[in-house]
Symmetry: C2
Subunit: 905 residues, 2 copies
């Protein structure tokens, strides 16, 4: 540790001006910086974080020489202020505040007015200081010391204060007289003494006690747990700031306040904050008095009217700080006798909208460059801008009204409100009469039409990548999954939550951004920004800023962005939002439209391959027309079509009535259909007969699909368009699978192209989603033109987690820190990431130019995108509505910013 | 390729005596070796396998100079024999035979009597050669040439011969006259000519035609497929053997035969084989005449009586060959005019019993050392010795009778016969009345008691590591799974196979070694060898040999052998068969006994952790007594106990009636039980809430188990025994899981030991069965005392194959060569093996002395054991009845012999 451990600041200079946040803590560094800039700051000194570490390393003893240095700096501070700490008649009063590089719950915060004592209070009153003011300061010191330093229950102090208010027949502390306050202080002193440790009347003992309390709070359980959970090093340590008091509670020309240099909700460039006249900082927090707006939007007076000089100074300080720190600031200040003192400055928290506007504005103001602007806006903040929202006040009122029914996983951002439908069929029917929210235990591919018809989806089971969650995000619909408090009984036509019962048709609202299920209706507003991006029309400062950020992103990023889209509509949405191709076009959803489903079932129920010829021949032209629509929407851009992936039983009905109906349609007995169902049923369908395994055992299905793809391509090319299909084989795990399927596919492609007398290159590749495929990626690469990581399945198999079943333990694992994050939301770099990196390396060792992308859910998740950047992937593919998020995240990854870890739950 | 391409042999010497099988092919090398040893061999020459490769590489043209070399060697052969090939009156006749280093179906085999022509036959008859003999030779040449060289259908030739027999009014070809045979030959020549390619009358054309046919047959589809499936290199190539004819069909002092130097079924040291008087080799194969035994067991004459000199010579040849080749030989011979000629020698195929006896006998005879003996016996051959068997003749007769109902996967070796039971309960009831075979679609843990009560298990579904297969092998019971022709209808009380119906109680027999299901009873005999190993009593040459081999194995192997055993009985069996510990003691089976199951269900159905206390307190002492029994059976040896692994829903009933009964017992409503079932049900239980995930969310269950283990240990230690438990946590995938569970376990271990005032070391380790665990094995190793690979689950997750569902495609994949073997039977070294090797390396990089074993099904599979040897595993653990197999396989692996690949299906 260094020789210098305590840094003085004040009087227009600061010893610690060149020192980092790591040494001084965030608060200390801010104070030093302000002081060095000549901003009015009450002088003081900062004990470094290194002392904190040394203190704990030495068994809670200060390093040698520290006490001498402390007293020397205290003497310097006394000299600056012209007052002596501990003086009886005119004492220097001090505050002690903690300050780590990262703020942390559980850490000791603040003790004010240190340096008072019974003796000194009496002496000052005798010397003419306002008794009410002094009694109030004394009362605050004793309370804070007992509560914060000695750890006695805050409520016990409040109870005494409350009793005194009753006795005095007043409502607020402000109305208590000096004598009232003296009585309170006496009672507080008794309370403290009765705990076994009396309040120290000796000022230096108060000061050292407060310093030790800050250091000790670094190592309490709650702070340690927080650090482990957030992967913060234990040796970061906290600093301690000892600072001369200034008083916002000394009279009507005093005040205290907090301010943002810009509006943290909207980003507007205008000071935003609140203040209280004749108060200390804790009064703002306590909420007993309503603070005033610094710069009211109604144009009324505000701080400018009450304290014109201080307001002008504050404006100036804000400008200087933004010039210096290049960031929107969150400041605390006190006005004493009309003069402004700054107590804190730090970079301000903000909403997504504010982040976007501020970042762009700061570039326009030449404070930062566009790369820095991209550093300032996280992908999830862009996602916020695109989601529909409830009016925050209305939602808060509803929750206060007891309408919060349940919480679940926030699986699809946005807000939706509508009538409950308990089956997909009912949802489709009811949708004609207004908005519907589909509520199910879980959804399956048969529910697609009903999901389309609904404004939001709510399930009692499933995880972040359950069917409901994936499809809802793909559709851009608000969705909550795993809301396990709901008991969905579709037969009884009701949803039970505890003893409350909601029937189909009752209104419900879901906030898919927050995971909150609310009884009754709430008004949801679509996102203006999304509308503007989709239409290319509309304008507002936020819309302009968003467009600007995305434009800079496109200039900066190295990775291409594609979308996962299965329909011409989704493809068009993706393209409007900036997608440069389709990375995953699933073909199974196309099989669920009612007429087609009949043919699909004929294919499945045919006892011999020959019986499949006719229904496949019917499916072929409709698949072709599906592909034509998608290829046209993506004219000139690549479209990766995945051949059929799910197991065949997903296409057969489960209910007795549907089986009977199907038997009638097919001219089969119910027993025959049940036998087929039985023979196709699987214990673990995720690990069953699907993907390329079906392609090898039932080659005629893939043959039909490939023929449809190639014919669609030929048809569009003849119309002068530029279709660019890529054929993707799912679930490959061995070289032989890929080699044989490539052979099968090539043969059909060549046959159709030869018949059409057409020359086209159609790349053939595979998904890497089985762990074994990653391990033998070099061998597979010799038969593949591209890889696309299916990180959903890869995560399932690498962890051995079924994404449909993890809701029973995964949230608990994340909460307890067994998992750092939900691996289905944020790629598990430590484990699954090894397989991704390995497959990239081995694939390219075999085939240097191999194109590699990712089309799992992680393709739209910013911190995962950062990892994919490090692996050198060519593109990421995500839900259409996530494309803007991915564009920004990819740019941030290229610029090296995207390493933040989001928990994803 | 070398300068010399054709090697002459005969007359007591051989140019190729020093050349390898790879160059000359197996047949050519044998002929050269015999010739050099002075064994009577008709002279000839061998064209090397390198010529085959060159021929194909040059687009089916012979390398330059080959024809000259061929004609020079032909001239040398003519000189040796004193006859000219193509001579009219006294021609040298030749045979052409293929000969690769590995014999291969589809390859051209033999053409005899080359060198005859119409003209020559007439000239020889005119010169006084026996016309009947000559016409017969001519007929054989033309038939073979048309069939084998030209590829015309064999049946067409047979039809002509058959018509001639009818016309002549005789039964056998031997009764046809010279004229009859001439007529047949004429008709055959016409048949050939009508195909477009007339039979070549020119002898050299015949000879070159036959040579080309051998080379061409190397590359036909069937041979290529076979090579790919068996991973035989395409450039191995085949040799061609051209050899002077000797005739076993020249008269009554001629004969032809095949012999083994020892009995290939029993290993007895006595020539074993058959011969036909006055016949050519193909007559033995054709089966139209019944061959005679060379050395009849009834002591009657045999070859010694018919041909005393030739028999003495044959005995001498057998001894010389065994001395030289140090192996039991399979030879072909011809006797011409009383003189013996050897045509082939090769190492003989044999049963497991013969392999064991011969290997041990050859050591006793000082022909080989004990290591070589171990090289000669494969693990699966030992497995054969331990399985019960049907009488082969009785089974063959049953199959010929049409009683073969179905085939399935040979999941548990051995034979069983009994009455059909369609539920586990019925099996348990019926077992009192005699042997029962349990027949189900598939089995589940609830069926354990019924499986115990049955002599064999047959399922219509499932793969080699389905529940039925694993449990049956564990119990050492014959088992067939995936017999998909069976439609099991337990409600109707019947099994349907096509239109045949079998009812519960009907008799059925299963051969679990062959995978054959046979209607009706068959007598099964237990294995004498198994009985002897278990009891330590009994003796026979085979039992002695087996004991000797296992003793040598134990001296040679580096790996320890443990068994997977869950009961004191299984532990005792394992120990008797040589297990040196238990590598996997599953605890879930202990939960299924009826009283306990009630308590287990109370634990599951308790709504709060508190409600679990009482039933867990009841389970604890019974678990303790389970462990005491097992630890006592394995006194002094390690026992690895796996904490509870399966998901909780496995312990709840499914049927309505059972649910109602349970509700009554528990004082709950049916709805409450159904709600619990619903909340616990999983889409993919394999990837669900089980293993250590349960241990973390329901710590009280593991706590009970650990307490039971430690108390059992203490109790036994107090009795002066030496219990050595090891606690194994299943399904760990992350460092945090292992770290926390270790903490939980250690706390309980220390508490119980402290209470008991006992000092014991109980290692705590984990299974490596989730791919992620292998990837982060270094991190996990820092909290684990040992690793045990759970290769079943590791294979499932690495491939993405559910072992319960693979029956629908895996057999097809293996058959088509998409997979080289069933990865659940033979470890997939290429993929899963990477993870095993990686985990070993990373685990030991973190903790150099880390003990590592394997307790998956692969622990008893020889080629997998060879791979585990290469990874440096400390032990393998397998089913108790596989322990002798594993002992041998481990020795073979240590000696470097175990690399044979078994397909495992």
């Amino acid at each position: 540790m260094s020789d210098k451990n305590i840094y003085l600041f004040g009087g227009g200079s600061a010893e610690g001006a060149g020192q980092s946040r790591e040494i001084l803590g965030g608060k200390g560094a801010g104070l030093a910086q302000m002081s060095a800039l000549g901003i009015p700051v009450p002088p003081g000194f900062t004990i470094t974080t290194e002392v904190c570490n040394a203190y704990h390393a030495r068994g809670r003893r200060y390093p040698e020489g520290l006490e001498e240095e402390f007293h020397a700096q205290l003497a310097a501070l006394e000299a600056l202020q012209g007052r002596r700490f501990g003086d009886l008649e005119d004492p220097l009063l001090l505050s002690v505040r903690s300050g780590s590089a990262i703020s942390m719950p559980g850490m000791m915060d603040t003790v004010l007015n240190l340096g008072l004592s019974r003796e000194s209070v009496e002496a000052q009153i005798a010397a003419g200081v306002d008794p009410r003011f002094l009694r109030d300061c004394d009362r605050r010191l004793v309370t804070m010391y007992g509560d914060v330093v000695l750890g006695l229950p805050h409520d016990d102090f409040e109870a005494i204060l409350s009793r005194q208010r009753s006795a005095a027949g007043v409502e607020s502390d402000a109305e208590l007289t000096a004598d009232d306050l003296a009585a309170v202080t006496d009672a507080h002193l008794e309370l403290i003494a009765s705990s076994g440790t009396p309040f120290p009347e000796e000022p230096l003992a108060q000061l050292w006690g407060a310093v030790a309390a800050v250091f000790d709070s670094w190592n309490i359980q709650r702070a340690r747990d927080y650090r482990r959970l957030h992967q913060i090093a234990d040796d970061l340590g906290t600093g301690v700031n000892v600072q001369a008091m200034v008083f916002g509670n000394r009279g009507p020309d005093c005040a205290t306040g907090v301010a943002f240099t810009r509006n943290p909700a909207t980003g507007q460039r205008r000071i935003y904050g609140e203040y209280l006249i004749n108060a200390q900082g804790e009064d703002v927090v306590a909420g007993t008095r309503t603070p005033l707006s610094i710069a009211p939007t109604d144009g009324s007076g505000g701080l400018a009217a009450d304290f014109p000089e201080a307001y002008a100074e504050l404006q100036n300080v804000c400008d200087v700080l933004e010039d210096e720190r290049k960031e929107m600031q969150d400041v605390e200040f006190t006005i004493e006798d009309g003069k402004l003192y700054m107590l804190q400055t730090r970079d301000g928290q903000r909403t997504g909208a504010a982040a976007a506007r501020i970042a762009v504005a700061m570039v326009e103001e030449s404070r930062i460059d566009s790369a820095t602007a991209l550093e300032r806006v996280e992908g999830e903040q862009i996602a916020q801008l695109l989601a529909p929202v409830f009016d925050p006040d209305e939602k808060r009122a509803a929750i206060e009204d007891g309408r919060l029914l349940a919480t679940g996983l926030a699986a699809g951002p946005g807000a939706a409100s509508g009538r409950i439908a308990l089956t997909a069929e009912r949802a489709a029917e009811m949708a004609a009469g207004g908005d519907v929210v589909l509520v199910r235990d879980e959804t399956s591919p048969e529910d697609i039409v009903g999901m389309h018809a609904s404004v939001g989806i709510l399930t009692s089971r499933g995880g972040m990548t359950s069917h409901a969650a994936v499809v809802a995000r793909g559709m851009g619909k608000p969705c909550i999954v795993g809301a396990s408090a709901l008991a969905v009984d579709s037969e009884a036509g009701e949803v039970r939550v505890g003893d409350r019962v909601y029937r189909e048709g009752d209104e419900i609202s879901i906030d898919g951004t927050a995971g909150e299920v609310i009884a009754g209706p709430l008004a949801a507003h679509p996102s203006d920004v999304l509308d503007a991006l989709l239409s290319g029309e509309g304008d507002s400062p936020l819309i302009s800023a968003t467009r600007q950020l995305l434009a800079w992103s496109d200039d900066s990023r190295r990775r291409a962005i594609r979308a996962n889209a299965d329909t011409p509509h989704d493809a068009a949405v993706a393209r409007a939002l900036g997608a440069e191709g389709i990375g995953l076009c699933r073909t199974e959803h196309m099989f669920f439209e009612e007429t087609r489903l009949g043919w699909v079932r004929q294919v499945i129920l045919a006892r011999r391959a020959a019986g499949r010829t006719e229904p496949l021949a019917r499916l072929r032209p409709v698949q072709q027309s599906d592909f034509e629509g998608i290829f046209e929407a993506m004219d000139g851009l690549p479209v990766t079509v995945r051949l059929l992936d799910p197991p065949l039983h997903e296409f057969l009905p489960r209910e007795e009535s549907a089986i009977a109906r199907l038997a009638g349609q097919m001219g089969l007995t119910r027993q025959q259909i049940e036998d087929t169902l039985e023979s196709l049923s699987e214990s673990n369908p995720m690990l069953g007969h699907r993907g390329c395994r079906l392609g090898l055992t039932h080659p005629e299905i893939y043959a039909m699909q490939v023929e449809a793809i190639v014919r669609a391509t030929v048809a569009l090319a003849r119309r002068g368009l530029d279709p660019r299909p890529e054929i993707m084989v799912p679930l490959v795990g061995t070289e032989a699978e890929m080699a044989r399927l490539r052979e099968q596919v090539v043969e059909i492609v060549e046959t159709v192209l030869a018949e059409a007398e057409c020359e086209l290159e159609i790349p053939i590749g595979t998904m890497i989603e089985v762990p074994r495929a990653a391990l033998v990626a070099d061998r597979i690469a010799s038969h593949a033109d591209f890889f696309s990581f299916g990180t959903n399945d890869l995560t399932q198999m690498t962890f051995g987690y079924s994404r449909d079943d993890v809701a029973s333990f995964l949230p608990e694992f994340v909460e307890k820190g067994i998992l750092a994050a939900n691996p289905f939301a944020t790629l598990d770099v430590e484990g699954v990431g090894q397989l991704v990196a390995l497959a990239c390396e081995r694939g390219r060792s075999q085939k240097p130019g191999l194109k590699i992308g990712i089309c799992g859910e992680h393709g739209g998740e910013p911190s995962s995108i950062a990892f994919f950047e490090s692996c050198g992937l060519d593109y990421v593919s995500c839900s259409p509505y996530r494309v803007p998020v991915a564009r920004l995240a990819a740019a941030r990854a290229t610029l090296g910013y995207g390493s933040e870890l989001s928990s994803g739950l």
